[in-house]
């Protein structure tokens, strides 16, 4: 078989010798089933990958939420009790609600390309120190 014939096998040809008609039909068969498989592959893996990504992200998000929540709760409790006599406490309670908003905590800058936290979250570290100061000032046992 010459190399010309090999190419004709791949691409088919207008020449309808029985051999080439079969090649052409095989290619068509291949295209059809390939495409069907490809679309199914995309659909199924999309769902599976979204789900496994979600399952991996969820516990990390939960941990961050818990940490942020604890800081916010401590400040809210303290601000409610001592806010009228401690203006900076009241201000910090307002600021933390801006500073630790979900869209500031969950941003790419705090994560690597695989969305894993890079070391400690700098905003949480920052507020940890602030809340710790107030906790000590008002003798709250927080474990911070």
């Amino acid at each position: 078989m010459s190399s010309d014939n090999v190419l004709e096998d791949v691409w088919g040809s207008d020449n309808d010798s029985p051999h080439e008609t079969i090649s052409y039909d095989l290619n068509k068969l291949r295209d059809n089933h390939n495409k069907r498989g490809y679309l199914d592959g995309i659909t199924h893996s999309r769902e599976a990958n979204l789900q496994s990504g979600f399952d991996e992200g969820f516990p990390a998000g939960a941990k961050l939420g818990m940490e942020v929540g604890k800081l916010v709760g401590l400040l809210q409790g303290l601000a409610n009790k001592y806010g009228d006599q401690d203006k900076s406490l009241l201000e910090d309670f307002n600021t933390i609600q801006e500073d630790l908003r979900i869209n500031k905590v969950l941003t790419k800058t705090h994560f690597d390309a695989n969305l894993n936290l890079q070391g400690e979250h700098s905003l949480i570290v920052k507020w940890n120190a602030i809340v710790k100061t107030y906790s000590e000032k008002y003798s709250i046992h927080t474990g911070l």
Binding site: Y38, S45, G53, G57, G61, K63, V68, G69, Q76, K108
Partner: protein, 160 residues
């Protein structure tokens, strides 16, 4: 060519296509799912951390009575070993516990209010606690019932 041979070929071509399709955007979809998982995990556990912080203040500030302390212990127990993953059974457990925790906190805050009557101009309520939680975490997509807050959640996804 017999039928079995052709069916085998069909299967083979389908599989080849399937593999290719499955690889396509696999990483992209995984990352998209992970962003969303981080967000939902954060939203669901923020309030629990907040309540944990609050009860520590309530416990150590002032002189809470025995029934307040008892309720605080119950909340602490409910928070202690709560599972932070998306496993179906653990999500169901979370749902059951958060109802109890909310109710207990409401009781604690009411008891506190009664105990410190007149001394507190502006007592803490469950409503205020949840409002702060909402400011920080936005609204949970699962519970969204108007378009405005749905847009808010989508905005967070775009912040990444």
């Amino acid at each position: 060519m017999d039928t079995d041979y052709l069916l085998g070929l069909e299967e083979q071509y389908y599989q080849e296509g399937y593999e290719e399709g499955a690889q396509e955007k696999a990483q992209h979809n995984f990352t998209e799912g992970k962003q969303y998982g981080l967000q939902v995990g954060f939203q669901r556990f923020l309030i629990l951390g907040q309540i944990q912080g609050l009860i520590e203040v309530i416990e150590t500030c002032g002189t809470p009575g025995t029934s307040i302390l008892k309720n605080i212990e119950t909340v602490r127990g409910l928070l202690a070993d709560i599972k932070m993953d998306n496993d179906d059974a653990n999500v169901a457990e979370y749902e059951a516990r958060i109802v109890k925790i909310r109710n207990k906190l409401r009781t604690i805050l009411l008891l506190l209010q009664r105990q410190t009557e007149n001394k507190m101009k502006d007592p803490l309520t469950l409503d205020k606690v949840e409002k702060v939680s909402m400011i920080i975490a936005g609204q949970l997509k699962g519970y969204v019932d108007n378009e405005e807050s749905e847009a808010e959640v989508r905005d967070q996804m775009q912040d990444w």
